[in-house]
Structure formats: C-alpha cells, structure tokens
Symmetry: C2
Subunit: 565 residues, 2 copies
Amino acid sequence: VLNTQEHSPLKTGNYDRQVLFSNALFEVVQCTWAQGAAAPFHSHDSSDCYFMVEEGEFENTSYSGLETSVQKRTKNEVIHIPIYTPHEMKCLSPQGRTLHIYLPPITKTAAKDDSATEKRLFRTRTIAEIESMLPLVLGKTGISSLELQSVFAKIRQQSISVHSEYFMNQLFAGIVPEAVQAQELIASTKATMATFEASTIFTVCEIELIKAMGELIGWNAQDSEGISVPGGSAANFMSLHCARQRLFPDIKTEGNGNRSFKVFVSEHSHYSWKKACMALGLGTNSIVFVKTDQDGHLSAEDLKTKIIEVKNSGAIPLLVGATAGTTVYGAFDPLESLGQICKYENIWFHVDAAWGGPVLFSKTSRHLMKGVELADSLTFDAHKLLGTSLTCSFFLTRHRTILQESNDVTGADYLFHEEGEVKDRGRMSWQCGRQADVFSFWTLWKKYGSDGFGEFVDRQLALKDDFVSYIKTQERCHLVKDAEFLNVCVQIIPPNEKMDTDTWSKKVRDRLKEEDLAMVNYSTDENGLTFIRFILAHPHLKLSHLQEMIQWSLQMGTKESNLLN
Amino acid sequence: VLNTQEHSPLKTGNYDRQVLFSNALFEVVQCTWAQGAAAPFHSHDSSDCYFMVEEGEFENTSYSGLETSVQKRTKNEVIHIPIYTPHEMKCLSPQGRTLHIYLPPITKTAAKDDSATEKRLFRTRTIAEIESMLPLVLGKTGISSLELQSVFAKIRQQSISVHSEYFMNQLFAGIVPEAVQAQELIASTKATMATFEASTIFTVCEIELIKAMGELIGWNAQDSEGISVPGGSAANFMSLHCARQRLFPDIKTEGNGNRSFKVFVSEHSHYSWKKACMALGLGTNSIVFVKTDQDGHLSAEDLKTKIIEVKNSGAIPLLVGATAGTTVYGAFDPLESLGQICKYENIWFHVDAAWGGPVLFSKTSRHLMKGVELADSLTFDAHKLLGTSLTCSFFLTRHRTILQESNDVTGADYLFHEEGEVKDRGRMSWQCGRQADVFSFWTLWKKYGSDGFGEFVDRQLALKDDFVSYIKTQERCHLVKDAEFLNVCVQIIPPNEKMDTDTWSKKVRDRLKEEDLAMVNYSTDENGLTFIRFILAHPHLKLSHLQEMIQWSLQMGTKESNLLN
C-alpha cells in the first residue's frame, strides 16, 4: 500500500473523539487527549481543517508548503490545516482537549463514499470511464448547490494527485496551501490587471515583485521591468517580440516583411521556441539549433560558428535563447560566455529560466546562473519549483521601455485613462483582461522570504545529491547525465539480457503508472535509449520515497515481482 | 451612505446571538430567534459563513450567483453563504435556533479593525498610499501564517469592490460564488492542460464544454473544436493565426514572407486586433477599418467595397472580424450578411463575441447573432457576463483540425506520449502549462444549465429596457446610441449652460469615482463628446441602483449638491 496519506484520525489516533455537529457542509469535532496521545503523520484529502486548543499543551508538526515547522500550541491557539497538508500532533500535558472544524465533514466523506478508501495516484482511464463516473456532460437544466458540492468532492477524489510525493510527471509537485489561498482571494476579488483603476493593490504587488526580481537577477533597479504572462512559453514568445521591436520598430505597423530572422537556441531548449516562431510569423525554420556538449550545455563555440554562418548568409541574428535548467536534463547553459558573445555581436540575449530560475535565491547554487545579469530578458515560472498556482510566469527585462514599445497601441481610450503617476500595465501586454497571477508568487515570497526560497532550493539539491549517490550504488541503474539540478535521469537496465534495454525504462515507467505506484515521465537519449526522468520538486519528498520508486523499478521483470513478467 | 452591504447581523437582526467559540481563524455562533425575527438583506465582506438550522423553520433568500432563490429550511438543513453573497433570513416558527460558523470570525473583524466600517467601493490612491497601508514590499525574511491571514484580510478590504452593484468599470461585475469554488478546486488540484495524463477530468470537461458550445453556435458536432486561451484578445489572435495557416500552410515553417495580408474589422472593434497583428508579424497597417452605421454596426456595403479595393491592390484578404457586442456601445454586427460575403469571397469569418456571446443562450435575444453558424471561428469570454473567474476565454472553430495544424510542433516527445484515444490538447495551443480555465465555465453551466444562463440574460435585458425608459424621462440625460445590449451610454447634460457639455460626463464619472459613489467608465463619441457607459452585468443589480446613479449624476453642479460646484 503506497499512497496512505488519506486516513481518518479516528482510526489511528489514541484519543477520544466526539462529533458535536455534523451536516452536509461542515462538522465540529471535539477530541480529548491523554498525555502522549498522538495523531501521527496524516493529511485530509478532501477536507480543510481548522482546530483550536481548548485545554492543555500540544506539539503540532506542520508540513506546510515549502517548510516544516514544529510548534507548541496552548489554550486558544489555532491552526489551519488545509486540504492535502500533512501534519502530526501530540498531547504534551497530562490531558488536553481540542476543537476541530472540518469543511466538508471528514466523518461523512469517509463513511458514505466507498471510493474514498481506494484513492489513487492515477488511473489510466478512457473518456468513457470518466464520463460514467462523473456527470460531466452539460445540458439545459442546472443542479442544486449540494449536488454541485458532491460533484466537486468526486472530481477532487478522482483527479491526478499532484500533491502526492510519488507524482513526478511535471516540473512541479505538491500543493502549497498559501498559493491556494492566494488564488481564492484573486478569484473572489476578480482583479483584472489591465488598469491601475481596476486593480490598485495587485498592480502594486506586480510592480514590487518585478522590482525584487530585477534586483535578484542583478539588473539596475531603474532599468528593470516585467509583466506576468500566461506561461513560460508566452515569456519566450515575448522575448522574440521585444527583440524584433528593438531591431526594427517599424515592424509594429508594417509587419515582418521579407526579412530573414534567425533565433539561436540549444538542441535541448524548450519546444515553445518553435511555437513562438510560428505565431510571430517568423516560421520554425528561423530557428538555428546550436550543439550541446555531452552534459547538455549549449556550446559557445558552436554558437559563434553559427552566428558567423547566419551573418554570411545575409540573415539577421535576432536572439540567442539560453536555458537555465533544461526540461529533460536540468542543464544550465553557460550564461556568462553566451552573454559576452551576445554583447559583442549586439544580439538580444534571453535566458529561459522557467525551471532553473529559483537557484537565484540560493547562496550555494546561484553560481549555476553566473552571468545572468548580462541577459536582456528572462523567463521565470514560479509555478514550477516554487509551488505557486499554475500558471505564474513572468517575462523580465532590463530594458525599461521595451514592453510598452512592443505592445502598446492606440484605440483603447475607453479603457486607459491614466491621469496619475501609475502606468496602466495593460499597455505592456498583448492581453487585455489578465488574471492577477502575480499574487500567488507575491504571497509565497511574503510568506517565506527570499531566504526561505533559497533554503528550500538548497534542501531539494541536497536531496538530489543523496539520490544520485544512491543511484550509483544500484548496479542496474545508469545515470544518464550528470544531475546538475533536480532532474535525475536514470536508465533501468532490465534484469534479463533477453529484454530490450532501449525500451525497458519506458516499460517500467508505464507500469509504475498503470499500477498506480508513481507518475514519472520518460524521454529518449541521443542514442534512442529510453530513460526515466525523476523530478525532485515536491517539498515533502524524502529519500525514502525515491528509494522505494527505484526498488519497484528494479523489481519489475524479476522473479520476486509479478510486474512486467 | 451608499455602500451598506457590510453590516453585522448583530446590530440589525432582532434575535439573540451567542458566540460559542471565537479565535483568530474561525468562530462558532449560536442564534436564538422568535417568530418573525429576521436578518435583513446583508452580506459579509470578509467572512464565509456556514449555517445550520438546529431548531425551528426558517426562510432563507439567497442572492447567489446568477439566481435568487427563496427556500424554507428546517432542522439539520445547512447553507453556505460565501463571502460577498447577500442573503436574508426570517424565523417562521414560534422559536428557532441556528448554528453559524464564520471563517474568519466576523465579530473580531468588525470589532478590531477600524477600517472595516469605512469599506469603500474605490479610493483614488497613489502607490505610496497603498504601500503605507499594506506591507507589499518583498524581502529576505518571511512572515507567519497568522500574519499572512491578516494581510489577506486587509487586501480584501482595500481592494476594488467588483462585488458591489455600483461597480460598472468593466464588462463584468459581481462575484459568483460557484466560480470562486471552482477556482479553489483548480488551484488545489493544480491541473495543467497540456496532456490528458496530467489532467484527465479537466480535459474531459474541456471537450464537453467545447462540444456544447459548438452545438449552441449551430455548427456540426463532428466539425467543431476549440480551446481555452488567456483572454478574449488571445482568441482574436488565434483566429488570425488559424486563418493564415489555412491559406498558406508553409508559413508555419517559412514565416510570413513578403505577403501583404489585410484584416477587416469595424471602427468599433476591440483594440486587441491591433495587438494581434503586431505580434503575428503582420503589422497594424494590415488592418482595414470598415465603416459602421449610425448605431455602430459594421457596414456590409463598405466591407464589400473595401474587399474589392484590397484585392485590386494585390493584397490578400485574410479575415473579416465581426463583433457581437462592441465594447463601448454593445452593438451586434450583422453576422448573416457578413458571413455570406465571407463565404462568397472565401475569407475567414471570425466573430468576436467576447461580450455579447451569452445571448446565444437566450430564446428572446438570440436573434442578435443570427447567422453566427456561418462563422469559421468565434471568441467567447465566460468571465464577462456569465460571471466565471477571470480569464475564462475560448477560441472556437468549425474546422476540426485547424488548431492542431496551426500550433503543433515536433520536439516535445518528452511530454506528449498519447497512446490511447485522447489527443493531448497542448498540441492545439501555443501554451504548454495551461490553467484549467474551462472548469470555471463548466461549473456555472452545470449549476445553472443553459436555460439558467438564458434566463439570466433575459433578466438583464429586461432591466436594460427599464433603465432606457427611465433615461428617456430624464430631461438632462441623452441616450447616445440605441442600447441593443447591456451597455447603456448616456450623456449627462450639465445643469448650467456655461458648463462645457463635451467634457461634463467625464467630470461626472470622475466625481462619482472620487466620491466613492460608483465606478463607471466613459468614452467619447464621433463628435468628441464624452459620455458615461453603464454596464448592466451585475446579477443583483436593480433599477433602483441605476436610478440612484443617474440622480447623483444629475445633481452634480446644481445648488442641491456640493459636488462639482
């Protein structure tokens, strides 16, 4: 049994529990504790819990968001344990009493719904299966609020468990409760970011955050600017848009014309460069793929060669896009030397730090992005490693005016009426209505501080080192690349020589998913060999989870296992 | 006193109220009622409330989301009154008892925070004022959870009140609680829409919603497709992208080249067309502005003339963009005749129905979009009139494969591994990570049904008729255009001939904002005269609110008023 986070404290805790009120929406529970009585590590996968100490002294360990805190709680102190948030508690005094409020009720959910006990990480499902389980078809008539609550509960139960430590399918994992609260606040104030008038406070949050990010990168405070964009792909898109505007301001009115632009990115760069070149009317053939070294870093030498080739051909070098933390291997391109080349050649230098950017907060790993201050612009996703809501992406630049130059148009006088000091930020975007994505990142920064982010990054990197050491002790595990960051790419060698080594890792990953053990992703190396990509993003991930996953993977196809046999 | 929604039931209700528990995070209150005792119309601007009838019989009127419901509640029945949601309740039985849970506590908020009583609709504020009121600057160290809760409460209190009936600044107003709940569920499951594997249920929600929208528009079920995009502007952008792809598939790899494309939209179309043409590398000069008739409808005659001119010039007609509900006047372009012209000329026909689209749900006003089924594609924003979270926008098309043709690229094998029946929807988008915006719309459709949406549209349109009739009785009010939809554009004639008629309406609107009376927007007509644009989107808006706003506006500058004198 692998995914045991959901349990009812009634069953495992050694304390008395009395339900004071219980109905369809909430429940009030009083617990009476003797000294040493404890509710061990658990979380509630369907209810928020608020609790208050009525009598006695308790120790509560909260695995909340990016940090774990142990705190003593005495009379009248209260704690909020959001949905999915693990905690432990123990009574320190001779006796204790606590009052808990659950929304929705935890007792009923566990009791009435059979499937609660078979909560899964993932289930390979067809659309037909999902449709039969949930009333997703839309029609003419509505349903009651209580019916809707019950549909919501079912959707939550049947959704992919990104809050599980065994979820490594994406470049994010885990739910940070403050991010959920921030999103709820955004939704219930419905701020839209086009004008200051309609979103005073969130506009200031965006200004503050952009300023803080500029300082973090190492740009001049007076020069830096930025804006939230709908995803890291959109930030890369914006870098090309701005670079083009800088070179040929008349493109804004006249279009690309017959110019042949070239964009230099590494073979391991994100596929969004292609999508951006398509949409911007440049065409995917405008991309020049620069070679990487054996560890996946963009080669400065090959870049120089390719720039010369492009210039000789009469095409226009538009932008060099480096990656800080590649999608598959987590490699950091050599920003300093690339930045110097771009400076010399006067080419826009963009850094796609969607995944690796958070190392900027870390004293010990910031060196991975040495030279970042040379960038003309940067992509940063806070929804990946830092755990904000999705999406929470930023385009940042050290050219104060370029965003407005690239995006502002006339014809919106009905909307933009700035008369005071504040520029309406819609002028810097190609969006009009724009969700206050910034607030999610602002909230986590406020809560944890930049130091807290740095400590979190360091903790994950230390875990990565431990995991890599462990991998090296395992005979049938092959580390595909040096793990610079939190991507650990591992080839599982099959237990039997007759099995196909090339495809074995993919088979293992598929089986881990089918068996509901873990959701990892896979990719293929230069030689066509598949491997598993472990992503160490979950804030509560421990070495033991990773060891477990490796052991399941190694057991497959052996006599000891009934999997892949 | 204008904005009186916030009040404490203790002060106005004639019942006994006992606080059973109260702490920093929640509060349990028990109320004892005599027959006929009532809590009149009120909402809580800072707390969610859950209540349960413990004894007796109550009548609860809930002004929830798009509908108002009156329901009897007896023992053990529970109701959730989300933040900002108005309700009234009355005890029907000789005596009654109710149990209420408030999150966060309502008593403390009202008591401890002085500014709670001076809740404002809007305050003209400088960044410095906001910074002094709220700790928005980000730094190295974090804060505690309780401190964060208190910052959140203050932000909520000081944010623009889009939930107020006097908020008409945008093409949306009011908070629909189910949309907030949907957003909370999206955030706490962190679904990302690129692959089916990572968002099984929300992918099916998107498929179902796109299907239902296609049927609503009147397209063939087998042909229609669509995808959520980050805002109506992005949907217009996508229409150009797809139209271009259809004409010249090689643009995807080769870029625009030296082609001269022309895009036909009306003078009153949204400014996002310009932004899209810039980004797509077409240039804003590719836009051909077609004349409108006196009521603001795109002229089919002028379109024909301009198409001929363009063709004669050797340029390529790329797309005709009609508007269903213009931003300022709410006018509906004549879709049927425009669609026929496009069919004849083989030009992509797009309908920007970001604002007016919901008339499709109404039996009585659907005729405004007669001919919509001729559209090749359509922009639909559910976050405007229908009240979902922002943004919740869709690009819809009757060309099943065009989205994938326009947006899919190679190089994302690490991500897209479809092996079953379901296409990964990231292939149809230029985004990678993509929030499950669809869920907000799906939720409201499920809750209210398409009939419920239709009834809501009809109710708002009936209110518009009443308001227009009222305007016509007011000597100093001039209706700028026939109000086809929920935009009512009114010129306020100054009370004194010496005052400048041209700018008076703007002065009035500014003063309404400064005095915290109402947040309306203004624009300028063909002759340079300013006018106020009332937007009737708020689901709880009544004629009396509108009459009040007109009376304040008319009083300005008169002896009876101290405003604008």
